[in-house]
Amino acid sequence: VSLTLTYFPVRGRAEVIRVMLKDQGAEFDEKVITMEMWKESTLKASCVSNPLFGQLPIFEDGDLTLYQTNAIRRHLARKLGLYGKDQREAALIDMMDEAIQDLLNKYVKLMFEKDDSGKEGYLKALPTDLKPFEKTLSGDKGSFLVGDKISLADYALVILLIHHQVLSPPCLHAFPSLQSYLKRLCARPNLHAYFHSDDFKNRPIIPGKRT
């Protein structure tokens, strides 16, 4: 069964999907939509009129076509066994993931601001957002956010931490558990290869602008 991801030629919201699939060794095709193609509006219109929300990414799994990044991620997590070992773990994974999405939304808002004026305030507030994850990962439990296997939420956190280090290299200095978590996850063979690939490195975080 073929998997196809359709998105802009950026990391953006789809990168976490790529990271998950790459780590799991799941093959997938990519359809790249440039901004020019998108603005031509026939694809956008078809997103609007048939499925739903006039947005990318689109993900095809055989005859199932999905929109909404997080719905796509959850579908793949269920398919690939990345959603915990039982309902309780699934609920905790959802909880972690929602909090990661909250931070991601703040980050995205900052990235799309017209200038750098919000950056200082953002970085000042960042430790408060990172603390719960640091706490979760510290102590004797800590390999992954939930349970003893990588999950949906871990992929989201890994890429978010990587992008925050681009924004501000010292941002994890006060968070030893997050640092070691990031190091450990990035050392996973498929992720190590992917993060060092030109494919990943040459893809801008967001369209055009600053990282």
């Binding site: 909404q68 959850r74 269920r78 909090a99």
Partner: protein, 211 residues
Amino acid sequence: FDCYHMKYFELLFTTGRCGAMRIMMADQGQEWKEIVVDFADWMKGDLKATCVFGQLPKLEDGGFALYQSNAILRHLGRNHDAYGKDGKEAALIDMMCDGVEDLRLKYVKMIYQEYDTGKDVYIKDLPNHLDKFEAVMAKNKTGFLVGDKPSFADYSLFEVLLNHLVLCSSCLDTFPSLKSFVEKMSARPKIKTFLDSEAYKKLPINGNGKQ
């Protein structure tokens, strides 16, 4: 489990982030106990410090504490067979719920940040967001977003539409499937009882009193 416990603010973020889960539990005949947290007590910080992300709502299911409203909704969905009959339906339900969440975020932003200046524009723009749900509801023909029984996405959509009807009582007039959906959901016996209850009626929708 026999009974959930919920902690929530009395005045802040009231029905808004808890509304859908209350309606769902009511409809599913799931008893729950509500613990209302006084804002002054919250600001003392002791309870806040015990919450993983420093936020409410919190759902206690047996000895298991869960935070993040959408994680709670999904957990309830799993527990009450309200997450579709298979993986495909689950993915579509996720997609719908994410779409509802996008609308809820816009609504909340208008309510808390732009009510006086932005309310009219918001109402004018609303059809551009509701039409997607109308299309899905009309296509599915069962009276639910996905499949032939209510999912957590339906409860979430229902709740957000109820709030929008308070904002603008005519907002569903051009959306017959959504209008019928709200009528049918409201008429479900346990939901009707809940919506008619003092408990429901006395809670303001939003923490700032705007609606």
